[in-house]
């Protein structure tokens, strides 16, 4: 673009741009404020946490809060457990949900809509009432207090199936139909045409599933008993009881549970926001 003299229009434009930035960064900062407070509190002395007016920066940085939090329980092991479970459920769900979603989005079979509605229906019963019966099923199988108890029930998801089905339906059918004429099977159509085009959706589902499993408390609590099986969220509960909250330690523990995922999100977001988007197809 050739250099131009600033006209009234560009000045207005710049102002609009500035306003836009002010707004979006202001909103981002407000959203992040509680998180920043959590990080700074995790470095404070207990006496500094409750002061008025609120003071953001600690007088001295108490990094030993982290050491103390980690000494309170074997958090290294808890981390490993949470990670194994969350990764396993995420991978499993991506496979089962994309298969089921393909069936609902692309295949014609009797009772499809009814079955799909039944799928959706299972999301509408609150987990609080199905928790105990689900626990009993696991008990009959004999999986209590194992990774399997945390992983296997999560391997299928109505939410994931619904999400992927919605995305698959936006992919033009023509692409596969051409492939079918070339003798391509349904499996190959799913693996080689649909899934590569759905990377943003798959990555979105992956992060949601991972977060859900990683932050789960109740289910992990009832199916696990032994110390070495526990997850991070169960570990964090030790800093709080009905009498008191150990603020400094709890914040330190929460930061260590949150920050790594935030970093992963920061670097991995291109996969699901950019990826190979659907846009290329619609032209």
């Amino acid at each position: 673009m050739p250099p131009m003299k600033p006209t009234a229009r560009t000045i207005l434009h710049i102002n609009k741009r500035t306003l836009f930035y002010l707004f979006i960064y202001g909103a981002a900062l407000a959203t992040l404020a509680p998180f920043i407070w959590m990080v700074l509190t995790s470095l404070k002395d207990l006496n500094e946490i409750f002061v008025y007016p609120p003071r953001w920066l600690p007088k001295t940085f108490h990094f030993e809060n982290y050491a103390r939090a980690f000494q309170a329980a074997p958090f290294g092991r808890y981390y490993l457990n949470s990670l194994v479970v969350a990764v396993a459920v995420t991978i499993g769900q991506l496979i089962t949900c994309s298969m089921a979603a393909f069936a609902f989005a692309r295949l014609r079979f009797r009772g499809r809509d009814a079955l799909f509605l039944l799928f959706l229906g299972t999301m509408m019963i609150p987990g609080q009432v199905t928790m105990i019966p689900t626990f009993m099923v696991l008990h009959w199988i004999g999986w209590i207090d194992s990774y399997k108890a945390l992983i296997v029930p999560g391997l299928a998801s109505a939410f994931g199936t619904f999400l992927l089905r919605q995305f698959f339906m936006t992919i033009p059918r023509e692409l596969e139909e051409a492939a079918y004429i070339d003798g391509c099977s349904k499996w190959r159509a799913l693996w080689h045409i649909i899934l590569p085009l759905s990377r943003p959706a798959l990555a979105t589902l992956a992060i949601f599933t991972f977060m859900g499993v990683f932050n789960d408390f109740m289910w992990a609590l009832i199916v696990l008993s032994s110390e070495e099986m526990r997850t991070v969220q169960l570990g964090l509960a030790i800093f709080r009881d009905r009498y008191l909250t150990e603020w400094d330690l709890m914040m330190a523990g929460s930061v260590t549970a949150t920050l790594p995922i935030l970093v992963v999100f920061f670097f991995a977001q291109k996969y699901f926001i950019k990826g190979i988007t659907l846009s290329g197809l619609k032209e």
Binding site: L94, I95, I132, L195, I222, A237, I238, R242, L244
Partner: protein, 438 residues
Amino acid sequence: MKKLVLCALLLGLLLQTSCGKKEEAAGDGRTVVTFWHSFVSSTVPALNELIAKFEKENPAIQIRAQYIPTGDALIQKLITSVQSKTAPDISWVHSDYLQDLVEADAIYKMDDFIAGPDGLSEAEMADIYPALIQYASWRGTLYSMPMEATNLALLYNRDLFRKAGLDPDRPPQDWRELHEYAKKLTVDADGDGIFEQVGFSLPVFPATGPLGGWMVWQWLPFLWQAGGELINEEQTSVLYNSEAGVAALRLWQEIYRDLKLSSYTTDYDVAFASQRQAMALDGPWNLPRYATLLKHFDWGFAPLPQGPAKKATIIGGEYLTIFKQSKHPAEAWKFIKWIIQPENQAFWAIKSSYLPINHSVLQVPEFQSYLAAHPAFKVFVDELEYSLASRPIDFHGLEITRHVAEALEKATVGDQDPAAALNESAQKSNALLQSAAK
């Protein structure tokens, strides 16, 4: 995509190898007794020392202590473990749960062990504070054993007392003084209608929340101080809406109103630590924390002020039960019996700052010297002599507690007439008691 499948397979393999069944025995021939507790991280080291001491004296038994978050989490764990026959040998429970555990035939009567060959003598039983025994029983039968006791006293800031012209060695003696001091210690220096310092606070929480029962627990001493009771002896009707109940609730309401507690924090401990609050209801469990948290000013504990009828405070604590699914009830009992021995109680009290459960601990020399060195702790121990426990409610105890909590919330947060709020709740409670009697 192939990579994904490969990953899944690898994970599957990893799982197969890593979920071997846990061993029943310790591997060294010792009997393993599992013990569920809910001590927070600051108490865990003391608990570990206690268990180590037991294991040293009882080399054939290993105690596997497992932390279960308290309250709702504990109850869900108990339900599912009873259903799946994976209950622990010993668990600590709240007395509110006894009814359901007994009705499901899940726990032993303590008499089964007390009367047994390795039991307790009458003198040993009489040594335990009777209020604790009452609280650990359901319908007159003892189903659990106290592990430690707690009660409530008045925490106060001696520096702020001096500043307000009050004698720090003469904390409030009765309700009238409590109310007066609370007002005197409440300061609005700049006159903007917001108090920079609050004299006292009340543990008012949502009745529906996990702390609703906790609020009622702290109100009961006021009810007793006024001469009231929660429920009649025959368990046919509730008594908390008596004149005594109304007086106790009116005191709360007036303090709540005068000190504008509706716009005050519920984190009294941190408010106290930052010297914005002069007095609070508090228990011995905070003492280890306070040693460091409150080191920058002069503070102390005093017995709860006396009410119109008498001196009273509430006793609580955690109670141990033995599950019928246990394969080692004898060993589990051995551990419980060991814990309630006076010398072990003294050890545990000194390490954890919880209160001992029996009188004769006071004769243990280490304990005596500890008391002499820790005057704040001594206030709680002295209070044990007149600590009361609430009369256990046979049926619908949880609902009735909820009804009381609703009345407390209505009279404070809702500023309704205390008598009307209590009567409304009592009506609901009595209807439940009548339906249970049928």
